[in-house]
């Protein structure tokens, strides 16, 4: 009986049947490949970011080591590894060493459920270009990301320094807040895809729809970024907040907090935090690609012209192209926007982003329920919904009213502090009666 249970694949239902059949060596190979790709991608992204930001600032950027300076980040990495590894006297040693590890491992793990391509022939085996999938893959990504926050919080706490502690608190508060908005943005995708598994979400975006615009049949890719545009916008904003990148890089606001949670870290431990940040950037970009931009599927004109564009190893190109587009957006944001003030940033997350996301989910669910029932015509519904949405957006995005300006001009007592009333005889004059303590028997 037990042997039978063991032989049953864990996810036997529906599309996920193609997972869980790989031999162990193939799984190991895929895992190692993901690791290698992520590390190389990090080195590349660091170089790319420096070059692009340099161009935006009319500089040249690293161009000496290797072709186009590509080996610059490798040289920097080696230099970082050879630096002195400091552990502050006030640090909590175990947690101090554990924290960067806790930050970097979840960053790698999340990539195990990202689909890079369709089923391919690899070493004589037929296997999907994805390490694994599960019915709750996207929730898995959120869960693992929330473990990654521990690395930052503990790194900030264990350093025994005020800057680190404040940076750690800030960054975890920020990541938790923006994870809420991010999760809410994903709900609409789940509703439309009818699944939370990444490979099924990619499949759900495969079909091209024809939309009638002024008598012309315009084919529109079934990307959720187009169908669920508000969700996409919310996700993109939240993902910048989630990865602590500019303009939301308040935890590392060097003018206020030196280096934030990693102020006291040096050498390889700092390198691990650095690695985690860049991998997290790649992770949220890959997730955005998978959930909103059709994943590894070729974009519409290419898929229409070229039959084989979605087969074999070609989809790797589309996947990485879409992902690098998001990473370029990250770099662009960093190159052009100033940092927000912390209270404005949190107010934006809680008072604007989350309510808008909630309203949008209610709207999507209502629309979905009505269209499934087939009651009212879809076009009318969309128009009504759009009107409501615009009104709500305008109301939400208006600055808070300033009616409090002339409401109260009289000075509140004691500057607004809650103070006890004065004694009935007026203020105590001279020395107060001495305090007497009674000994308890």
């Amino acid at each position: 009986m037990i042997a039978m249970l063991d032989s049953v694949p864990v996810m036997a239902s529906g599309e996920l049947a193609s997972f869980g059949n790989d031999p162990w060596w193939l799984l190991l190979f895929k895992a190692v490949m993901i690791f290698v790709v992520l590390v190389l991608l990090t080195l590349f992204n660091i170089w790319w970011e420096r070059r692009v930001v340099a161009r935006m600032q009319h500089r040249i950027g690293p161009n000496v080591h290797g072709p186009f300076g590509l080996l610059q980040s490798l040289a920097d990495g080696v230099k970082l590894a050879l630096k002195e590894d400091l552990i502050p006297k006030a640090a909590d040693k175990v947690v101090f060493i554990l924290a960067p590890v806790l930050a970097v491992i979840p960053a790698f793990i999340t990539f195990s459920v990202i689909p890079f391509g369709p089923e391919v022939h690899m070493f004589g085996e037929r296997t999907p270009l994805q390490l694994t999938d599960m019915p709750v893959a996207v929730l898995f990504v959120m869960a693992i990301a929330s473990i990654g926050i521990y690395g930052i919080v503990l790194g900030g706490w264990s350093s025994g320094s005020t800057y680190s502690l404040l940076g750690g608190l800030r960054s975890s508060a920020q990541m938790i807040s923006y994870e809420v908005a991010m999760g809410l943005a994903l709900v609409a995708v789940f509703l439309y895809a009818g699944s939370m598994s990444t490979s099924e979400i990619v499949d759900a975006q495969a079909s091209t729809r024809n939309i009638d615009v002024l008598g012309l049949d315009v084919p529109v890719p079934g990307w959720f970024a187009i169908i669920l545009l508000p969700s996409f916008v919310i996700y993109v904003i939240a993902m910048v907040g989630e990865t602590n990148r500019a303009p939301f890089d308040l935890p590392e606001a060097e003018g206020e907090l030196v280096g934030g949670f990693h102020t006291e870290y040096s050498s390889l431990k700092f390198a691990l935090f650095f690695l985690a940040e860049y991998i997290n950037m790649a992770t949220v970009s890959a997730l955005a690609t998978t959930l909103f931009l059709g994943g590894w599927r070729a974009p519409w004109p290419i898929s229409a012209i070229w039959e084989g564009s979605n087969e074999g190893y070609w989809p790797l190109i589309w996947f990485f192209a879409k992902m690098m587009m998001f990473i370029f957006m990250f770099i662009w944001l960093r190159g052009s926007l100033p940092r927000l003030r912390y209270d404005q940033f949190m107010a934006f997350g809680w008072k604007r982003l989350i309510p808008i996301a909630l309203l949008w989910i209610v709207a999507v669910a209502t629309l979905r329920a009505i269209t499934l029932e087939g009651g009212i015509e879809r076009g009318q519904l969309l128009i009504i919904g759009a009107v409501f949405l615009v009104v709500f957006l305008v109301v939400m995005l208006l600055p808070e009213s300033k009616k409090a300006d002339d409401a109260e001009t009289e000075e509140p007592p004691a500057g607004g502090f809650p103070v006890p009333p004065m004694p009935t005889q007026g203020a105590v004059r001279g020395a107060a009666a001495p305090l007497v303590f009674h000994e308890e028997d």
Partner: protein, 293 residues
């Protein structure tokens, strides 16, 4: 079963650790270990949704709030082992043992019905099966729980709410106030100056120097000033002589370590460092030091 036998000892050890470690943050971390192991056990038992939710809700949200509070309480706050209520420890041990005994006896009496099996429970996928149960049979409990949670959230907001008695000062108001203060008292409207930065000393307890050479009061924290632990920049400059006395020679005459000991003192090109004739001519400070000896 393999996963259980690997995780069970880890969980028991971590749970015992929660009881025995001194620092509250360490206890919270060990609790996280227990919770994540529990989540993995759910995953092994083919409950993937519960696995994800266990990590997101308990480890990601609730325990993180614990950590927040613990971190704000103090960086090295550790539990006090002093007994505040007399006899508490003995009573706790006795009642704990009694509770354990009752649980063991009680649970050993229970018999479970035949298990339906995971395939039956997960029929049509784990998530849809769970949704079907939640929104049909248990819909009332589900809604009641959500009402409870919303009530708790609103209650927390009401308790933490403070009525604003004065209008909030906006950025424009602050700028206007600063300018008014500048007109009335001459107080500088800009940000406070940073503390002094010197080649030999860079610390918050050294005031910055104003153009006329006096120390700027505004550049140091009021706390440090009240404690009386503020150093003065001219006194630090005098320290150099003390350092030189301790070294027994002037730093300029010590053997070159970084190769730049004479470079900072002069703006002229040094033709041949090391030759005595050039050293006297090119660098005035070096020459002065040599004259002294």
């Amino acid at each position: 079963m393999t996963a259980f036998w690997i995780l069970a000892p880890v969980m028991v050890l971590a749970a015992l650790g929660i009881l025995f470690v001194r620092k509250a943050v360490h206890a919270a971390l060990l609790l996280a270990v227990v919770m994540i192991s529990l989540a993995v056990l759910y995953a092994v038992l083919e409950a993937p949704f519960l696995f994800a939710v266990q990590i997101i809700v308990y480890t990601g949200a609730i325990l993180m709030l614990f950590l927040f509070v613990l971190m704000l309480v103090g960086v090295d706050a550790s539990d006090s082992v002093v007994e505040t209520i007399r006899g508490q420890r003995v009573l706790a041990t006795v009642f704990g043992l009694v509770l354990g005994l009752i649980l063991v006896i009680g649970i050993s009496q229970v018999t479970f019905g035949a298990a339906v099996g995971l395939d039956e429970a997960n029929n049509g996928g784990n998530v849809p099966a769970l949704a079907n149960l939640l929104f049909s049979k248990y819909v009332f409990a589900f809604e009641a729980t959500s009402a409870l949670l919303i009530t708790a959230a609103i209650g927390a907001m009401v308790l933490a709410h403070r009525e604003r008695l004065t209008p909030k000062e906006s950025q424009a108001d602050a700028a206007n106030r600063r300018m008014r203060e500048y007109a009335a008292t001459g107080r500088h409207p800009g940000p406070l100056p940073a503390p002094g930065v010197f080649a030999r000393h860079n610390a918050v307890d050294t005031p910055a120097l104003l153009p006329d050479g006096t120390a700027s009061e505004a550049s140091i924290s009021r706390v440090l000033a009240a404690r009386g632990s503020v150093r003065s920049a001219p006194a630090l400059a005098d320290d150099i002589e003390e350092v030189q006395r301790q070294l027994g020679q002037s730093p300029e005459q010590s053997p070159e370590v970084a190769g730049k000991s004479g470079a900072a003192a002069t703006t002229e090109e040094q033709d041949a460092p090391g030759s005595e004739a050039d050293a006297g001519a090119s660098s005035s400070t070096n020459g002065a030091e040599e004259d002294e000896q």
